[in-house]
Subunit: 125 residues, 2 copies
């Protein structure tokens, strides 16, 4: 069970940042109407609003590099909490930005997962 939680967490993280970096317009497919995002203290709800926010960020091309992934089962049946640290390299910028982000994943009836909770913060040194 613990191993499966880790596997789901890692697979989700790969998929999420791959979509973010290469096909950001599709990232709304990972959220549902109930989903919540807090992005640098700004609160958004629902896949459409979240997708609009992420696609309107003031940078185009970027590359996420993941440093750590910690996953735990949440108490919600089948839910998984994933905590990520890493950095984002923006096109044309010299230095990557460090960030921390957490996701609460909930199983779908189709046997996949969607993001119910998403909180993102840049780490200032």
């Amino acid at each position: 069970m613990e191993e499966q939680t880790e596997m789901v967490g890692r697979a989700f993280v790969d998929h999420y940042y791959n979509l973010f970096d290469n096909d950001r317009s599709s990232i709304g497919t990972l959220y549902q109407p109930s989903s919540m995002l807090t992005f640098e203290s700004q609160k958004l709800q629902g896949s459409e609003n979240i997708s609009a926010k992420l696609n309107a960020l003031p940078f185009g091309q970027c590359r996420h590099a993941i440093s750590t992934i910690d996953s735990q089962p949440s108490s919600f049946a089948g839910g998984i909490i994933v905590f990520v640290s890493g950095s984002i390299q923006l096109l044309g910028e010299d230095h990557p930005l460090r960030f921390s982000q957490m996701f609460h994943l909930i199983p779908t009836v189709e046997g996949s997962f969607f993001v119910q909770n998403d909180i993102f913060r840049l780490n200032y040194g």
Copy 2:
């Protein structure tokens, strides 16, 4: 509802780090047998193991300074996810250490909350 979630998150964070900094031997009271802590990738389960770990950390006196608190309702009935960034000043060290931490709080039958999920990571620059 949103305001109440924020209030619970802030009150919990105040209480948690106050206990950690001033009465760390009591911190196990915030956890239950089902609780999980991942501390710098080390996994612990249950209030006794978690309390033992936090009380065996290789520093005595410390002071947490909180930079940001983001809270969201989790999908679990009445649960709250709290995401914290801040720094820890250890006694005798020149520079504080930056950290990120998330808590998943679950309501108790007594009308309070306990920590079901806790993930802690130092932020390296």
